[in-house]
Symmetry: C2
């Protein structure tokens, strides 16, 4: 009870194995988060969906997908700016 938890917790999905992120999400819920936002871009978008589905189907069945949004970010690549797609998936306990 040392400090209040932030209402929203975020897990950035990158190139690590899926189960690393699954564990990170479960940990946040176990620490009292009411919802957790998964953020990914580019090829990691597929992995973010995998993480959401595995958490929801295998570990925390009471969770619902509360919102999914997609977007585009400009990233500085070697040959100048390139656009990459992004996704945000909000998992939460309520409906």
């Amino acid at each position: 009870m040392a400090e209040a938890k932030s209402a929203e917790n975020t897990v950035f999905i990158g190139v690590k194995p899926v189960m690393n992120y699954v564990l990170a999400v479960i940990t946040q819920f176990n620490e009292g988060a009411g919802n957790v936002t998964l953020k990914a871009r580019g090829k990691a978008i597929s992995r973010a969906v995998d993480v959401a589905e595995i958490v929801r189907n295998r570990f925390l069945q009471g969770l619902a997908v509360q919102n999914i949004s997609i977007g585009t970010e400009e990233v500085q690549g070697e040959g100048g700016a390139i656009n990459v797609s992004t996704i945000e998936i909000v998992l939460g306990k309520g409906k």
Copy 2:
């Protein structure tokens, strides 16, 4: 005016280059579709998001993302059934 268009049109996103699917989506809107659903699974999920973003930002600015849903499908692999994640993105003219 030979026949009524189905209210909903679907483009399945696979392993082809992104612009193939962008063109398929634009064609469906130009043929009178009110909305188009992009469906993908596994690693193609990232590509489906790319297609939606490119269509919306570069070609048909009036379009909105009307709905995004994710799920899991069981697929018969070499060593038995495996689960793959799926996504459906609905692009439409209204809000």
